[in-house]
């Protein structure tokens, strides 16, 4: 293992769930911490300011982790700063790598979002029609600024070159540990790759009929989790619960199917897949028994692109 390495962590547009996944490493973190010198972790953990990171010499940090997507000008700026200061940059979690849950906002325009947030909801009282401005003058002398709210959500790879991608919402802490150890020990794939076991969720799922020596059957009806309780043993997809495990990276060890929840694809696409949603469409439609059944799948865009809309070929709804 090398000497201490310098680590920087930026939370861009995410919810801090990925930060929690790193903290959740618990004992593994104890093994790793003596080798880490955390120079920046904002805005959640360390009391280091943006200007401190900006003042550090370029390429002075060994490893940078960025979680969260790019929605605001501030997030884009800080991600660019991270890229300049870090030798290796890792997109941590579904938002940074693919756009994540907030990426579904790309189905709506900025105007739609502002109208809902500042005017239309029942509990909103905004008679003067005030919306956030990038600049505002208070008392005629104090100029206050806010970062610009962009038209679209983007994964960080749309803004900077990313060395490694990891999926998960959040990534399972054991996987974060394995990824960190791989970086510390220098056991890394070529830059631009995903840090993954390469297996699909189905490969590691105990429900997979293929692993039990049974034949896979076609889907005969479409069900939703609200419709009843799935069988504890049988494959969720075969039972009709649309599960995207076949096209999702299985670094999570199939935890959701283990507790009766169909996979929604937060792990990111399995290697070789460029567009998660389209591959999911191909895979799910191919395993249906009848062409009419596909009409029973609710809102396909938000089901198949739940975590990956901004990184899809389509990018978002065409306006």
């Amino acid at each position: 293992m090398p000497e201490k390495i310098k680590l920087a962590y930026l939370l861009a547009g995410g919810c801090a769930g990925c930060d929690m996944a790193v903290v959740d490493l618990s004992e593994t973190l104890l093994d790793v911490l003596p080798h880490l010198d955390i120079v920046f972790w904002a805005p959640t953990v360390a009391d280091v300011k943006y200007k401190d990171l900006e003042a550090m010499p370029d390429k002075s940090i060994d490893l940078g982790l960025v979680s969260g997507m790019i929605r605001l000008a501030e997030q884009e700026h800080m991600t660019r700063v991270m890229r300049r200061k870090c030798k290796a940059l890792v997109a941590l979690g579904a938002c940074a790598s693919l756009g994540g849950i907030p990426g579904m906002a790309n189905m709506h325009t900025k105007k739609d979002i502002f109208d809902t947030a500042y005017f239309d909801t029942y509990s909103t009282d905004n008679p003067e029609g005030i919306t956030p401005q990038t600049k505002c003058l208070v008392d005629g002398k104090y100029e206050l600024t806010l970062p610009e709210f962009y038209e679209n959500v983007r994964p960080i790879s749309a803004v900077v070159e990313v060395d490694y991608f990891t999926g998960g919402c959040p990534p399972h802490h054991s996987f974060v540990g394995a990824a960190l150890m791989a970086v510390l020990e220098g056991k890394l794939p070529p830059p631009g790759s995903w840090l993954t076991s390469g297996k699909a969720v189905c490969d590691v799922c105990s429900r997979n009929p293929g692993l039990k020596g049974q034949e896979r059957e076609l889907i005969k009806e479409v069900r939703r989790v609200v419709d009843g309780q799935p069988d504890q043993e049988k494959c969720l997809l075969q039972e009709g619960y649309i599960c995207l495990g076949a096209v999702t990276q299985g670094d999570c060890n199939a935890q959701c199917p283990g507790v009766n929840i169909p996979c929604r694809g937060c792990g990111g696409p399995i290697p070789g897949v460029k567009d998660f949603g389209l591959r999911a469409v191909s895979a799910i439609a191919a395993s249906m028994a009848d062409e009419k059944l596909v009409d029973q799948i609710d809102c396909p865009a938000k089901l198949f692109y739940r975590y990956s809309l901004p990184s899809s070929i389509l990018g978002g709804k065409l306006k």
Binding site: M107, K274, D275, G277, L278, R279, V281, S282, I284, A285, A286, M288, D290, E291, L293, V294, D295, I297, C299, P300, A301, K302, F304, I313, L314, G316, K317, L318, K319
Partner: protein, 140 residues
């Protein structure tokens, strides 16, 4: 805009639609030069990615041609194509792509005339829609 010619990709199954295109040629049926045929083993081998990637890279319309139901050389490849197509169609509508830009047709090896008819029809549909927003002449 007046000299705009659509760019249309046709994925034609080797056993039926491609043979239909061949027959259309032998019988001297005319169809527009905007049609670019890609010969594929089976309509069931066409994944959603191929269609969307074609649209993304500048096609104004994409047509998938397969054997009539029950006639698939690989037994049920065309049924798989239909299931995938139906689901992709709904996804594209959600995503704001004009659904008329993608089409699935069953054209057998003996339907040379029908092949030419469908191509003329599809070309007319695309000309009416105009350049795709993702296409070569669009703005995006």
């Amino acid at each position: 805009m007046s000299d705009w010619k659509p760019n249309i990709i046709v994925f034609a199954c080797n056993w039926c639609t491609y043979q239909g295109a061949d027959l259309a040629g032998s019988l001297r049926y005319k169809y527009p030069s905007s049609i670019n045929i890609v010969r594929v083993p089976c309509s069931g081998s066409i994944e959603a990615e191929y269609i969307v990637e074609a649209l993304h890279k500048g096609a104004d319309g994409v047509l998938v041609g397969g054997c009539h139901p029950g006639d698939c050389h690989y037994k049920e490849g065309n049924h798989k194509a239909l299931r995938r197509f139906n689901l992709l169609h709904r996804l594209l509508v959600d995503m704001g792509v004009e659904p008329e830009r993608v089409r699935l047709e069953w054209i057998s090896g003996s339907e040379g005339k029908r092949f030419a008819q469908v191509m003329n029809e599809f070309d007319a549909t695309i000309r009416k829609l105009g350049p795709s927003p993702n296409g070569r002449n669009g703005n995006a």
